[in-house]
């Protein structure tokens, strides 16, 4: 697959079909492939595809195109250039691209999608737990196993057990849209278990849910890494840093953090593709997915649509129907 990605990248670059290809390259840290930007044929051999490609590259597609558009603002209209971006995209990445397209962030002809079937990426958190928090010095996949190297020696574990939660129940591991597809379609993941976690949480009493929410949010130090890595978080001015109005207080009060999280997570309604990128980058291990997945579940159950799953279906909060459900509407009691 890796070879095919490189060949495709070379063809696209040589044929001047794209100006740059965004993909993954070997990182300097174990368990982590690094996003890279390839703009000439010779560099295309740097591209890799493995179980450590955890970031959602749609983020960079948006960044590159918008950076370029800004650079064109002072250029005469007739001399403006377009930048065509190629991107190595698995299922969730293509969903994010669909969201960008639906939200008119760029047009379809500005991107070339190299679709890659995906079998999941390794969760760094799960790997750390597997080695009891020892520093992981190296990682390698061999067959269905992963070998983690620490100062104390090697630990071998089944790859499946270390895959990210988002991957384990992923419904869209094959690309939704693509211009070129490499490899054979990936086998389906355990989609039936998709909402098990959410349902279990829903069935807890109020107080337990509240306790869990506050406990998780108390870990957050507002580094904003989750927002920075999320392809759906592309606002030029984020509410989190806005001062007029000042949505999020800068103090150390717990509720300031809770507000930030509540607002960011809710902003993902109908827009989160469960790529797990935010969970992967969070240095504090906040269980963001527990809350994000709820929005996905409700969006589907109430409005029969999943974020970025279908180019023809508008995002749930950008559309409506007269006959939408409204059981939540309060009808006053008939008292005197």
């Amino acid at each position: 697959m890796e070879k095919q990605i490189r060949e495709t990248a070379k063809e696209l670059l040589a044929g001047k079909k794209v100006d740059v290809i965004i993909g993954y390259e070997q990182g300097t840290l174990p368990l982590q492939a690094t996003p890279c930007f390839i703009d000439n044929v010779d560099d295309a051999d740097k591209l890799v595809w493995n179980a450590f490609c955890s970031q959602n590259l749609a983020k960079y597609v948006h960044d590159v195109i918008h950076r370029h558009k800004e650079s064109q603002v002072r250029v005469k209209p007739e001399e403006r250039t377009k930048k065509i971006v190629g991107v190595v995209a698995r299922g969730c990445t293509t969903r994010s691209l669909v969201i960008h397209l639906q939200e008119r962030q760029y047009s379809r002809d500005e991107i070339v999608i190299i679709g890659v079937p995906c079998t999941g990426y390794v969760s760094k958190k799960k790997a750390a737990i597997r080695v009891d928090g020892a520093e992981i010095l190296g990682s390698a996949v061999s067959g269905n196993d992963i070998v983690l190297t620490t100062a104390g020696g090697d630990t071998t574990a089944p790859l499946q057990e270390l895959l990210s939660d988002s991957c384990l129940t992923c419904r869209f591991n094959n690309p939704i849209i693509a211009d070129v597809t490499v490899g054979e379609p990936a086998p389906p993941m355990n989609v039936d278990a998709e909402y098990h976690d959410v349902v279990k949480f829903e069935n807890l009493p109020d107080e337990e849910r509240w306790a869990y929410f506050t406990k998780e949010m108390a870990k957050c130090m507002r580094c904003f890494a989750c927002r920075n890595t999320c392809p759906s978080c592309y606002c030029k001015v984020c509410f989190a840093e806005q001062s007029q109005p000042n949505w999020v207080g800068v103090g150390v009060d717990d509720t300031d953090v809770q507000m930030f999280q509540l607002m960011r997570i809710f902003h993902m309604a109908g827009r989160c593709v469960d790529c797990g990128a935010c969970v992967e980058v969070c240095p504090m291990g906040v269980d963001l997915r527990k809350f994000l997945k709820k929005l996905d579940k409700d969006g589907f159950e109430l409005f029969q649509s999943r974020a970025g799953a279908d180019m023809e279906k508008p995002p749930i909060l950008s559309s409506f129907a007269m006959e939408d459900r409204q059981e939540f509407i309060y009808e006053p009691e008939e008292h005197a």
């Binding site: 509240w210 009060d253 809350f291 409700d298 409005f303 409506f320 129907a321 939540f328 006053p332």
Partner: protein, 145 residues
């Protein structure tokens, strides 16, 4: 908004975010018709429920509202045709999400109330006030300075 919390004679403070064209006028009608209803709701007038950012609701809770009531034109009667229809989706998601994190369901309530429904407005306010009273002062998400 926290001054009388913990006191025996505690009365809830409820923020009502209402649409100018219907519920606000409905409240007016209730007023001129001299219908009695509890004075606990402070109204904030917005041009349409479609204008209500879910952040308003969250922020109101953080700033100490014991309850939030959102009300606008009945579906099909929005002054801007569909503002309340997109709002309805947003608020359904919001209502579910706030309960999911453990907030009491009755802290945040949504309803429709037209300009002709002065009586319904009074009933809504009464009902909402009673429910919030039953919950007691808000503690979750409230910022304590």
């Amino acid at each position: 908004m926290t001054e009388n919390k913990g006191q025996e004679n505690w009365v809830p403070k409820i923020v009502g975010i209402v649409c100018n064209w219907c519920t606000y006028a409905g409240a007016d009608l209730a007023g001129i018709s001299r219908i009695q209803y509890p004075p606990n709701v402070r109204l904030i007038r917005v041009p349409c429920t479609g204008r209500i950012n879910p952040f308003y609701v969250m922020k109101a809770l953080q700033e100490g509202a014991d309850g939030v009531l959102v009300s606008g034109c009945h579906p099909g009667e929005c002054h801007y045709l569909t503002g309340n229809l997109s709002a309805r989706r947003k608020f359904y998601m919001l209502s579910n999400f706030l309960s999911y994190i453990g907030l009491e369901k009755d802290r945040v309530m949504f309803t429709w109330c037209s300009a002709a429904e002065g009586e319904r407005f009074a009933k809504v306010v009464k009902g909402v006030t009673e429910r919030v009273k039953a919950l007691g002062p808000a503690s979750k998400l409230v910022k304590h300075l």
